[in-house]
């Protein structure tokens, strides 16, 4: 019960063996991940309820997202998960150089992920594709420059912003008649993704277009909260990196690296679900 | 915000959620008045969201509806033709100048129908035609002429309106015409309801002013109406204001223009919800509160 003379420095006083401490730490981390899962579970519930009841909103909304950027980010995050797993492996084997290298690589991939996210966000913000009452989509985007956005305080019967000479690929739908009071919105067909125009199921598409701000609410909150978790994970990885550089870890003590890894993989798993749910809607 | 409609006597309750329809049903088995309350917390006035559910005997609701819907109408509704047969008889009989004049003013087809009328019950269709024609008279030019109304006891309201300078216009002119017609055929046509009574009806029901303004001096969201007429209130901003017609009208249409100090700018506008004549009625009602003081 009392402090054994061989009590290792990393073993807290109230644990009897390193193994007890290790398992407690692991269980604690898994429980923490449970709270994260339920935190995101609320968001997935929000998503599921709206998608089940208003699928047309999602059909209309996802066209503004860039599949290739989303796919790129998925791969970046998977690779970062691999490097994190390799970092844990290096820590288990006591290979400090490899540990530092893999942690640094994970950190860089995370930066890369955020960089792509920044590009995506800035496109959306520039095009006014913001949630709720901030949803003020630019009429269209041309190669030469932007058409001015209709001012937010325009009276309801104000004419829509003048349409530029048709920059969309042939087959882009004509704005439906009487669309002046609906949000003035045309998919950014000339955007990076060069998506096919919406299908001709006009009624559903029109209803979806009217409520597409709901999609961007979900998009920004879900990816935003995920992005915050990426940033938190980066802080953890940086902390692990500096501890590893000071030689804090050894083949008999690498619990923090393992726990950081668990957290990072969960961030990856959540993105694995976000990607098809937000970008790949059929 | 969400409200909840509760009629305790009916053991019935359902939330009233914005943006959607909620369904509820009940079967009232007793005649009487039962309280109706809001049970979902909805802000400052939550506990004042009360009214009464009236369960009428069969037919009672229709009577009430007639009264309520005719309350402020300056023109005639079929129900205002209290004795259609009497009116038609009078017109057929002629005699008094006003009768002759009125028959002349009716449309030729109407006159034919009246002359073809055998007496006895008046058909729904004929009633409607007559009322339409009467309303055409009401909304037309001023009908008063000393010779025409010789022998008619002109009522006090009509007298006041006739003496008005400038002469009454719009609804008031229609109202004057109506008073005069009713004076000419007191047994056959019903008088437009008293403005004060209408004002009380708007205060209690149609406008719902009651939920924020008391008439007994009690504190509430808005200033009490007790003795409000002619009273001078300090304002949150600007000089004090004495309560008169124009201020009341402004307060109803643009409630936040002048706020009595000590109160919050929370009143919604009634622009488009109350007609000018209804605002007149509210003003008339407020004047009576001053008299009671």
């Amino acid at each position: 019960m009392s402090h054994a003379p061989d009590h290792p420095a990393h073993l807290a006083h109230h644990y009897e063996t390193p193994r007890q401490q290790f398992e407690a730490g692991k269980l604690g981390m898994w429980l923490f991940l449970v709270t994260e899962v339920l935190l995101f579970g609320g968001l997935f519930c929000w998503y599921a309820v709206y998608r089940a009841n208003q699928p047309e909103v999602f059909l209309a909304g996802h066209r503004y997202l860039d599949k290739s950027l989303g796919g790129l980010n998925t791969i970046v995050l998977i690779v970062s998960s691999v490097t994190m797993a390799l970092a844990v492996r290096a820590a288990q084997l006591g290979n400090r150089r490899a540990l530092l290298g893999f942690l640094a690589a994970t950190f860089l991939f995370a930066c890369c992920f955020l960089g792509v996210k920044y590009v995506e966000y800035s496109h959306k913000i520039r095009d006014g594709l913001l949630p709720g009452r901030h949803f003020q989509p630019a009429a269209e985007k041309t190669g030469a420059g932007r058409v001015p956005v209709a001012p937010a305080d325009a009276p309801p019967d104000a004419p829509p912003a003048p349409a530029p000479a048709d920059p969309a690929p042939a087959g882009a739908p004509a704005p439906p008649p009487g669309a002046a009071d609906a949000p003035r919105l045309v998919p950014s067909a000339a955007g990076p993704e060069g998506l096919a125009p919406p299908p001709t199921r006009e009624v559903a598409a029109e209803a979806g277009r009217k409520s597409v701000h709901l999609f961007f609410g979900i998009y920004f909150v879900m990816t935003g909260l995920h992005g915050l978790h990426v940033i938190a994970g980066m802080i953890v990885i940086a902390w692990l990196f500096f501890r590893a550089r000071r030689g804090a870890f050894s083949p008999s003590y690498w619990l923090p690296v393992d726990l950081g890894g668990l957290y990072w993989h969960l961030v990856d798993v959540i993105w694995i679900f976000l990607f098809p749910l937000l970008y790949l809607i059929h | 915000m969400i409200h909840s409609l509760w009629i305790p006597a009916f053991r019935m309750k359902m939330d009233v959620v914005p943006g959607r329809y909620n369904k509820a049903w009940f079967k009232a088995t007793k005649i009487g008045e039962f309280p109706l309350l809001c049970t979902e917390y909805c802000g400052t006035g939550h506990s004042d969201m009360l009214t009464t559910v009236v369960v009428h005997p069969p037919g009672g609701y229709e009577d009430w509806l007639k009264k309520a819907s005719n309350m402020l109408s300056p023109v005639f509704r079929p129900a205002d033709l209290t004795d259609a047969a009497g009116l038609l008889r009078a017109l057929k009989t002629g005699g008094a100048p006003v009768r002759v004049w009125l028959l002349e003013r009716l449309a030729p087809e109407t006159r034919e129908k009246i002359s073809a009328w055998p007496g006895g019950a008046v058909s729904e269709e004929l009633r409607k035609v007559v009322v339409d024609d009467l309303n055409a008279v009401l909304t037309g030019d001023p009908i008063y002429d000393e010779a025409r109304f010789a022998g008619v006891a002109v009522s006090e309201e009509a007298r006041q309106l006739l003496a008005a300078d400038p002469p009454p216009a719009g609804d008031d002119r229609i109202g004057l015409n109506r008073f005069l017609l009713v004076d000419a055929f007191p047994d056959a046509l019903s008088r437009a309801p008293d403005l004060t009574e209408a004002g009380r009806y708007i205060y209690e029901r149609k406008g719902g002013c009651r939920s924020c303004h008391s008439v007994d001096g009690g504190a509430n969201v808005g200033p009490t109406f007790k003795g409000i007429w002619g009273k001078t209130h300090a304002m949150r901003q600007g000089p004090p204001v004495t309560v008169e017609e124009n201020y009341i009208r402004e307060s109803i249409l643009d409630p936040n223009a002048k706020i009595v100090s000590g109160f919050d700018p929370v009143m919604p506008t009634y622009r488009g919800r109350l007609t000018d004549r209804e605002i007149d009625a509210v003003i008339a009602f407020l004047k009576t509160l001053a008299e009671e003081k």
Binding site: T17, G41, A48, K67, L86, H265 | -
Partner: protein, 113 residues
């Protein structure tokens, strides 16, 4: 009281090739998910996309997060959380789907200018 081996943490070093293999598989599956969206499967599209995501997440959990060699308790904890989310989502969809038709279409005064 306990022998030294039992007192040390339970270590399982994942083979390098396994980690890299799982990583490669995940990237391949990502490609498959993207590819499937170009095939019209009707309502099955979302099911397929989610099924692939579940497979990917399972691989991450089993191999990257070591659940395959970990104490079963941790897996139970994790699955409980997922069960809870599924329960929440299912009951919420069940109810909102029922009353969805009661909603007033386009009732959104603050966004419909």
């Amino acid at each position: 009281m306990e022998n030294h081996a039992a007192a040390e943490p339970h270590v399982h070093v994942v083979p390098l090739r396994l980690l890299l293999g799982v990583g490669a598989l995940l990237i391949v599956l990502t490609g498959v998910t993207v590819g499937v969206t170009y095939v019209d499967l009707g309502r099955l599209n979302v099911v397929v996309a989610l099924a692939i995501a579940v497979v990917k997440a399972t691989f991450v959990a089993l191999y990257f997060m070591h659940l395959r060699w970990d104490r079963p308790l941790n897996a139970v904890v994790f699955l409980t959380a997922l069960g809870c989310v599924v329960l929440f989502v299912l009951l919420a969809i069940l109810d909102t789907g029922q009353y969805h038709t009661d909603r007033i279409p386009d009732h959104a005064p603050a966004v419909h200018r």
